[in-house]
């Protein structure tokens, strides 16, 4: 590794860090929650960049695929489905704000002082080899059980989420089945909402 590549790495590291920290601050500080959600896009992209900088190309691409293509879309949809974006003040009362700030600073202080003085056990230089194949091999070998469990977890989460969302819809669809008492029931349901 030449000095140049160190330098280039450093440049990119600081670039990505700036993007991450800046957009993360936007995520937590912006008053418009939709903009928060889109700011999260830059944070996640920056983190993906950090991964690639660390030689983890597969993880980086997966980060883009799952976090940006999946999680973030879900969050934006969630915002759109539940939003009273412009009417609700997004921040809590001042007391909570102060306490939250203190907590965040205390957290960072603790992390900083527990990371900084440690003499980490480095293994020395490690070239950035392709990772896709070893990850695949290990997922199908050493980590087969967690891999399968993760798939089960995903199915359960999907079914659970669908159930949670559908639980209310089911009542109305039953009422819409066309029985005689149907209209009246819908009327009362409508009154309850208003």
């Amino acid at each position: 590794m030449s000095v140049t590549s160190y330098t280039i790495q450093a440049v990119f590291f600081y670039l990505f860090s700036a993007v991450i920290i800046g957009s993360a601050l936007m995520v937590v500080l912006l008053r418009n929650i939709v903009r928060s959600a889109f700011a999260l896009f830059f944070t996640l992209s920056g983190v993906a960049g950090i991964y690639i900088l660390l030689g983890a190309d597969f993880v980086g691409v997966t980060q883009v695929l799952i976090y940006i293509g999946g999680v973030l879309i879900l969050i934006v949809f969630g915002v759109m489905l539940t939003h009273n974006v412009y009417s609700v003040d997004i921040f809590n009362k001042l007391g909570t704000l102060v306490m939250g700030t203190i907590s965040a600073i205390v957290t960072f202080t603790i992390i900083y002082y527990s990371v900084k003085p440690v003499n980490w056990l480095f293994i020395g230089f490690k070239p950035d080899l392709p990772t896709a194949r070893p990850i695949g091999t290990q997922l199908m070998g050493t980590f087969l059980l967690p891999f399968e469990l993760a798939s089960i977890l995903l199915v359960l989460a999907m079914v659970g989420a669908a159930y949670l969302i559908r639980s209310e819809v089911r009542g109305t669809s039953q009422a819409g089945a066309g029985d005689p008492g149907n209209e009246q029931r819908q009327d009362t349901a409508g009154k309850k909402v208003h």
């Binding site: 909570t96 306490m99 939250g100 907590s103 205390v106 603790i110 527990s114």
Partner: protein, 665 residues
């Protein structure tokens, strides 16, 4: 191959029963009876196959077991669902499925107009299943399942026409009386089971295991067990004192009477004792009891049969009497003679019942022989076959009953458990049997017609499905005895030889001389002919004599006609006694036990009143004081509980920070 298809023999009728029970109502009648007759006939075919397989083996290896699965497995105690085929059970399944098939076929004609057609055949198939299970089982427990199963089917079929209350009552009577016997049966095999288990550590109900270890059980226990099992047999096989249900059981359809109450189920007791022969040969006292009870029943039932007027009642008492002969046979240790008579009796008694059914069918339901007569011309087939059966049961030489009855009487005479007394009762019974059977034939088929005009017009021979079974059984009744011809005729007793491996328990009835055998045979033949002749004199030559006899021996006649008032005796003293005991016990309950309980309760209430006051003032006061303290403290502390998750998180993070700062600093 056939060794592993034994399970199908009972399962086939079961399948038929299930199909007919579940969907029989929706099937056409032709399909219903095809299923029923087909399943039992297939069983018969399998039974014949199994029989031929058995005789292809060497004589000492004629036994195999088809284990289907382990029914109960508790450590070393195992009951397998296993079917045992040996010469004894082979004979039995041949009789049950063979006679059963014939009677199923007969039922197709007899029941053709019945509204519960499919149910009838379902029950009949179910009975066949239970009976085959009984005779095929390789352990007492499984046998008991079949034993109870046939009892159940008997109950269901006796009360088949339950619209008439007497029929339903008859069914219940049969069931209750059978239960009394079953109690003895259960007690018997449990006593044997526990004694053997405690004494030797062999916990088993398997026949083969019991057989090889029976010598380890004390003779007293064996005798007790034998008598208890015999109590079970008296219930199922209608012996004194539990015979009373069988005549009433004639309330069921006639094919049922033929199959269940003549040919198969009632012989279960005989089969059971033959199956347990290894036990009985070690318990001679039990054998003596059996022989005496059998002999008494044989004579006693025959006397009642003399004067009955209902055609089926006569046959019912005749059945009781013949069962008594079988018990004489097994009771004197001549098991193969008993089984032989069981077989021949199955043929001719089934034939008699089916013939009577044919008569009843022709008479539009009339069963009283005083209103019959002269039917011979109109019912030629029925008459001919009925007469063959009568000749067989009376013991006319050459017919099946002759050989078997003679075998029993001979053995009763020479056996150490028998003796002159039992033999004499048997011979007298034979005279009476010949008498009442001849009376029955003469009154029914000959003489002047005594029925009303309307009935007479409708008399007709039965359809083919009914006469063909009659013919089959007639052939068997006439010729079936030759397989058991005694050695005195210069041939081998094939039947006894075939069964010999089952009964080789180290006991043999001593051989008498040929002269003695010829003499005894002569006495039997004489007895038969004297009975026939007497009856002929009374009912064909001098037809007024019976009425005059009844007049002059009025008391005796009344006793006989009312069956010695046994039913009334049971009702008054046993049932009544139980009811009285019941009253006394309930009084005891109400006065003494309830009184004690109530007194205790009153005392408890007083005590609890005092305790309650203490509770209210002292304990509650303390508890309330604590509670109030907690409530006021909680009122202060609940302020922290904002219900906002973020506040909790702040506390959690600051608390964690505090902890970590201890670690880091």
């Amino acid at each position: 191959m056939i060794e592993h298809m034994i399970w199908m023999i009972p399962v086939l009728p079961l399948t038929g029963a299930i199909i007919n029970l579940l969907i029989g109502k929706r099937l056409p009648r032709r399909v219903v009876d095809s299923i029923a007759v087909g399943s039992i006939s297939l069983s018969f075919v399998l039974a014949v196959t199994a029989y031929f397989h058995l005789i292809s083996l060497p004589a000492d290896q004629r036994q195999f077991t088809d284990t289907v699965y382990t029914w109960i497995g508790l450590g070393s105690f195992q009951v397998n669902l296993a079917f045992l085929i040996d010469p004894l059970s082979a004979v039995m399944i041949l009789i049950v499925s063979g006679v059963g098939s014939v009677i199923h076929l007969y039922s197709v004609g007899y029941m053709h107009g019945d509204k519960r057609y499919s149910r009838y055949f379902a029950f009949l198939n179910l009975f066949a299943f239970a009976m085959l299970l009984l005779v095929l089982s390789s352990s007492i427990l499984l046998m008991f399942v079949g034993w109870e199963g046939v009892g159940l089917c008997s109950y269901l079929l006796i009360g088949f026409w339950f619209e008439k209350i007497e029929n339903a009552r008859a069914g219940m009577k049969a069931f209750v009386v059978n239960r009394i016997g079953d109690f003895g049966f259960i007690a018997g095999f449990l006593l044997l089971f526990t004694t053997l288990g405690v004494k030797t550590g062999i916990w088993s109900l398997d026949f083969s295991v019991l057989k090889s270890n029976i010598a380890l059980v004390p003779v007293a226990v064996l005798t007790a067990t034998g008598i208890m099992l015999f109590v079970g047999a008296t219930g199922k096989s209608a012996q004194i004192p539990l015979y009373v249900w069988l005549p009433d059981a004639m309330a069921g359809p006639t094919p049922v009477s033929a199959l269940i109450h003549a040919a198969t189920m009632v012989t279960a007791g005989v089969y059971m004792i033959a199956r347990m022969n290894f036990l009985y040969v070690l318990a001679p006292d039990a054998l003596r009891v059996i022989a005496i009870v059998g002999a008494l029943t044989a004579f006693f039932a025959a006397t009642i049969g003399l004067v009955q007027n209902d055609i089926k009642k006569v046959l019912a008492y005749s059945t009781v009497s013949q069962l008594g002969y079988m018990f004489i046979g097994v009771g004197v240790g001549a098991f193969s003679a008993g089984i032989f008579h069981l077989m021949t009796h199955a043929f001719f008694k089934a034939l008699l019942f089916l013939g009577s059914g044919s008569v009843i069918h022709a008479m539009s339901g009339e069963q009283d022989i005083r209103k019959m007569g002269g039917l011979a011309k109109k019912l030629p087939v029925t008459t001919a076959t009925f007469i063959i059966a009568t000749l067989a049961i009376t013991g006319v030489p050459g017919f099946a009953g002759f050989f078997s009855k003679d075998d029993i009487l001979y053995n009763a005479y020479v056996s150490p458990y028998g003796g002159t007394f039992i033999w004499l009762l048997g011979v007298l019974g034979a005279v009476l049997t010949a008498f009442y059977m001849t009376r029955l034939v003469l009154l029914t088929f000959y003489g002047k017609p005594r029925m009303d005009h309307h009935t007479a017009e409708h008399i007709h021979e039965s359809p083919k499905t009914m006469t063909v079974p009659l013919l089959i059984l007639a052939v068997l009744s006439a010729a079936g005895g030759y397989i058991g011809m005694p050695e005195v005729f210069g041939v081998h007793n094939v039947f006894a030889q075939f069964l010999a491996p089952v009964f080789n328990s180290g006991f043999a009835v001593p051989e008498g001389s040929h002269t003695l055998e010829w003499t005894l045979m002569g006495v039997s033949v004489l007895a038969a002919f004297s009975g026939i002749g007497g009856a002929y004199y009374f009912y064909a030559v001098n037809t007024e004599l019976p009425a005059r006899m009844a007049q002059s021996f009025r008391t005796a006649y009344a006793w006989l006609l009312n069956k010695y008032y046994v039913d009334e005796f049971y009702l008054k003293y046993i049932v009544g006694g139980v009811l009285k005991l019941n009253t006394i016990l309930s009084l005891f309950d109400a006065r003494i036990i309830d009184g004690a309980v109530n007194g205790a309760a009153k005392l408890g209430k007083k005590l609890s009143d005092f305790d309650g006051a203490f509770d209210r003032i002292v304990v509650d006061g303390a508890v309330n004081a604590v509670g109030d303290g907690v409530v006021s403290a909680g009122g202060v502390l609940r302020k922290i509980q904002t219900g906002l998750v973020q506040n909790y998180l702040i506390f959690a993070i600051l608390g964690l920070a505090l902890l970590l700062s201890f670690v880091l600093l």
